[in-house]
Symmetry: C2
Subunit: 277 residues, 2 copies
Amino acid sequence: MRALIGDSEFDRDTAVTRREPGVYDIDLSAGWTIISAVNGGYLLAVLGRALADTLPHPDPFTVSAHYLTASQPGPAVVRTETVRTGRTLSTGQASLFQFDDEGNEVERIRVLASYGDLGTLPDDVRTTATPPPIPPLERCFGPEDGPAPVDGSSAITERLMLKLDPATVGWALGAPSGKGEMRAWFGLADGRDADPLSLLLAVDALPPTAFELGLKGWVPTVELTVHVRHRPAPGPLRVSITTRNLAGGFLEEDAEVWDSTDRLVAQSRQLARVRLG
Amino acid sequence: MRALIGDSEFDRDTAVTRREPGVYDIDLSAGWTIISAVNGGYLLAVLGRALADTLPHPDPFTVSAHYLTASQPGPAVVRTETVRTGRTLSTGQASLFQFDDEGNEVERIRVLASYGDLGTLPDDVRTTATPPPIPPLERCFGPEDGPAPVDGSSAITERLMLKLDPATVGWALGAPSGKGEMRAWFGLADGRDADPLSLLLAVDALPPTAFELGLKGWVPTVELTVHVRHRPAPGPLRVSITTRNLAGGFLEEDAEVWDSTDRLVAQSRQLARVRLG
């Protein structure tokens, strides 16, 4: 039976407990780790949930996150601030903290976000964007179809329905395409449908395009900004990530997320660091 | 005689005076207004200069700005905070405030930014990005070549060398192309060469792509994030702005800035609001 929005693994693992206004406790789940760290999209969803509780508007419209230090599974505190409240949009700030050996708070991520209500937007669409070319889901590849793609933890793959476009899995077979492209069908393993919050996960859940560029190892995110443009329809999402400029040890990853009705529901861009090899 | 970096109109108008550590005073110049507000790129440069003074690293690598209320020419205060200091990158936050009739501070913009040293990056480049198709500068159009493009102030146009690609000036002649594209040669009117700080201006200095989409009026920025990828070479820049998704009264503007050596020196994306007509 498919999990429902509000009662799924993703909802339980991103749930924050309000200790006092603007202060939330959470135990970061080890279930969303990849290689050596907690996935940045999962963390963004945790911060997004805390901000949705703090701000008068329900949906993230634009969220800008700067990643400071690598998060680990375990206890964390989210502190939020209402920066401005407007009629259409409200803006907030949130930081996620963990603790060092002396119990001092160490800031992991800081975000600025503007929230609104996707349900109130006019349905006017004039887009030239087109869905990514990706074969049908049954012809795409999941982790069960190939060798373990990365060293270290791949726990997050058990929580996702991630089926990669055969054109962008060369890296897993030792033959990267050399193109900065990664495409996949995306969903949650327990069948929970997408919502604006899970889109914050979707934009940072694919293998890094750096792998298809022939680079190995972790590609830590410096900054990631996501725009949620529409409430996603039920059904699997298509996520397309493109890198055009790898230079000076940094690259950008542009993600687009499309829903089952061919609607562009989210766009994101991140700046990430790579080890040039 | 051409103005030098450090001694130009742009440098004087973005100069901040440190009142105390982390607190800077500035008088926002009326010279950078467009339509009814102070240009968002100019404001970003002001905040960027304050952060460069606060942080141990000199160059903005990624700056995320959320625009809260419209700035006006006149006195303003910038408050900065060092969020994290690292070896390669340091992260800071800055807010620009002005004052209401009772003298209370009103926050205009809040930014999160990660700074580094562009001079220390390896010169390795593996890019598939190509410079925008734009005719030679002498075949492009400036404000002096056509009717006043917008109602209200256009003071900023006197401070810029802005020559628009003839293919993207239809809006100024009452015949918008319908494409979400805007391209121009960009420089400062006094001949000052570009640097990482002036790139923060360059990404938000062109007419909005919404004009070419047949929309009129102000297109207020909700959020703008810019990545500075390389120190620009002397000479005019080429700026290309693309909008692919206008939906629900919001659109994204993706900007690329190229220098005279065909190097991609900055990328930005903003989410902006439009009045649907």
